[in-house]
């Protein structure tokens, strides 16, 4: 028996949207409800993610606003903030509630705007993003989020010999996948030479190693296992693991191993009764190219130290033995913070239904999503399966 099932999925294009947050959310949420064949009156609770509306747009207490806008006022709404893992945490709580019998039908989703449409330029948004670093022991040193993952990645490079060229291969692969994804922020391919020729943001990361500032929304309808077959195309949620790690970075025992990802993956795999070898593909949190390398190892998809090599050798391409980020990932698909977690669930659902179009992973039956927040101190790992 699955813990729950996803029976509807929706998302906006990721990119630039001159649209209020509740309207952006509604575009994804109503698409998910329609896909599920669920009426608003059937929805028992909303699990809503938004990380930075307060800082970016002076817009808080968004749960009831979003619920009202899609006709859900009255039901319980909870809003999550876990930096970039915001809507994966909403998803975890939704699955738990359904699995525990508290609700039968719930809507889960997230929305965020990070582009200059918010009125915030790169420096201002860089400061807002940096608020996820420790306020007293990291921010005063001038640490940024590219800087956070640069610190983790440079240690990985030191330990294993990972190279900037290998990192560039991650960007090239994800841009290639994004070019096949009509909802991706970046729809064009790039080359290793172009990536390595870009301006440095925080070494070893150049501009093309970094995900963009994006606007967008995503949503899924989650129902109890025994209701799943009454919907057209249910996808099972086999396991969801969630773990936290020590903050700040300096106090982590071994920062580049991203222990919370390993702990969350172990829990998700155990619930699913299936390990990394059984995953037909993965959507991982590649906010920076180095983050994908760390995630591929933490999820057990490749051996420790081999993440960069695997990317350069094509093992993580769509036709490789461990396909990673067929959507284009955060790198090319885009990264509207609070929408990213459930957008990964949308991507898994589409492949497991066989509806992912040109980027479809052939015969995909089981997949894993990895969504992290902050310096990876929050990580949620979800395993989904095609319903037998």
């Amino acid at each position: 028996m699955a813990r729950a099932a996803v029976v509807g999925a929706g998302m906006t294009t990721f990119g630039v949207h001159d649209t209020p947050l509740q309207e952006l959310f509604a575009a994804a949420a109503l698409e998910a409800l329609d896909d599920a064949g669920v009426e608003t009156t059937d929805v028992e609770a909303l699990y809503f993610g938004n990380a930075m509306g307060g800082q970016a747009e002076n817009d808080t207490h968004l749960g009831p606003t979003a619920a009202s806008h899609v006709g859900l006022a009255g039901i319980p709404v909870q809003r999550y903030e876990d930096a970039c893992a915001t809507s994966a945490n909403a998803f975890k709580n939704a699955v738990q509630a359904v699995d525990a019998g508290i609700h039968d039908v719930v809507l889960v989703g997230g929305v965020e705007r990070c582009t200059p449409e918010t009125g915030k330029d790169t420096a201002a948004m860089t400061r807002i993003f940096a608020s996820a670093a420790h306020r007293q022991y990291e921010q005063p040193a001038g640490l940024t989020f590219p800087g956070v993952f640069a610190l983790l990645t440079k240690r990985h490079m030191h330990e294993y010999g990972t190279t900037e060229e290998q990192l560039a291969h991650v960007a090239v692969k994800n841009h290639g996948n994004g070019a096949l994804n009509p909802r991706a922020h970046f729809g064009r391919e790039t080359s290793v030479e172009a990536v390595l020729d870009g301006p440095v943001v925080a070494d070893p990361f150049r501009l093309m190693d970094c995900c963009p500032f994006s606007d967008g929304a995503s949503a899924v309808v989650v129902v109890a296992d025994d209701l799943a077959d009454s919907h057209d195309a249910p996808v099972d949620v086999a396991g969801v693991g969630h773990a936290t790690g020590v903050v700040p970075i300096a106090d982590k025992a071994t920062p580049h191993v991203t222990k919370p990802a390993r702990d969350a993956a172990a829990a998700a795999y155990e619930q699913a009764g299936a390990g990394a070898d059984a995953m037909d593909f993965a959507e991982v949190h590649d906010c920076f190219t180095g983050a994908e390398v760390l995630a591929s190892e933490a999820l057990g998809l490749v051996e420790d130290g081999q993440g960069g090599v695997a990317a350069a050798d094509g093992r993580t391409a769509r036709d490789g033995d461990v396909p990673i980020n067929p959507s284009g990932g955060l790198k090319a698909k885009g990264h509207p913070i609070g929408a990213t977690g459930t957008a990964q669930i949308v991507e898994l659902a589409e492949h497991l239904r066989g509806e992912a179009g040109e980027r479809q992973i052939a015969d995909a039956e089981r997949a894993v999503a990895h969504n992290l927040g902050g310096d990876a101190a929050t990580t949620v790992v979800s395993v989904m399966e095609a319903r037998p």
């Binding site: 790169t122 420790h134 022991y137 440079k154 440095v200 925080a202």
Partner: protein, 122 residues
Amino acid sequence: MTEGLTHDEWTAALRDGRLLGATCRDCGATVGAPTAACPHCGARSLELVDLPTRGAVYTETTIEVPPAGVEERGYQVAVVDLGDARVTGRLDDEAVAIGDDVVLAGFLEDDQGNPAPRFEAV
């Protein structure tokens, strides 16, 4: 009475040229950032310790795109391994690599008066 290391204590020490840490009496771990309990084992019995002010760079990056409120660019942020604990700090006008020795050389302050350690190459 709360044991542990507070931001006020850590800040006062840093302004005085010292790095305060906390050693867990249960698991023996030492941390370089103030905390009310050991982040590794959860124990609340902590002993305040003076950390060495000289260590080796554990990891580093040079930030070329700073956040609003930071005027300079091209500055280095490093996690410095002081032996028992690590501390995050800033290096200016240096190009240190992982493994290089550095020493505490004062502090800088952000726009709200929070200090961060400043290190320099030895």
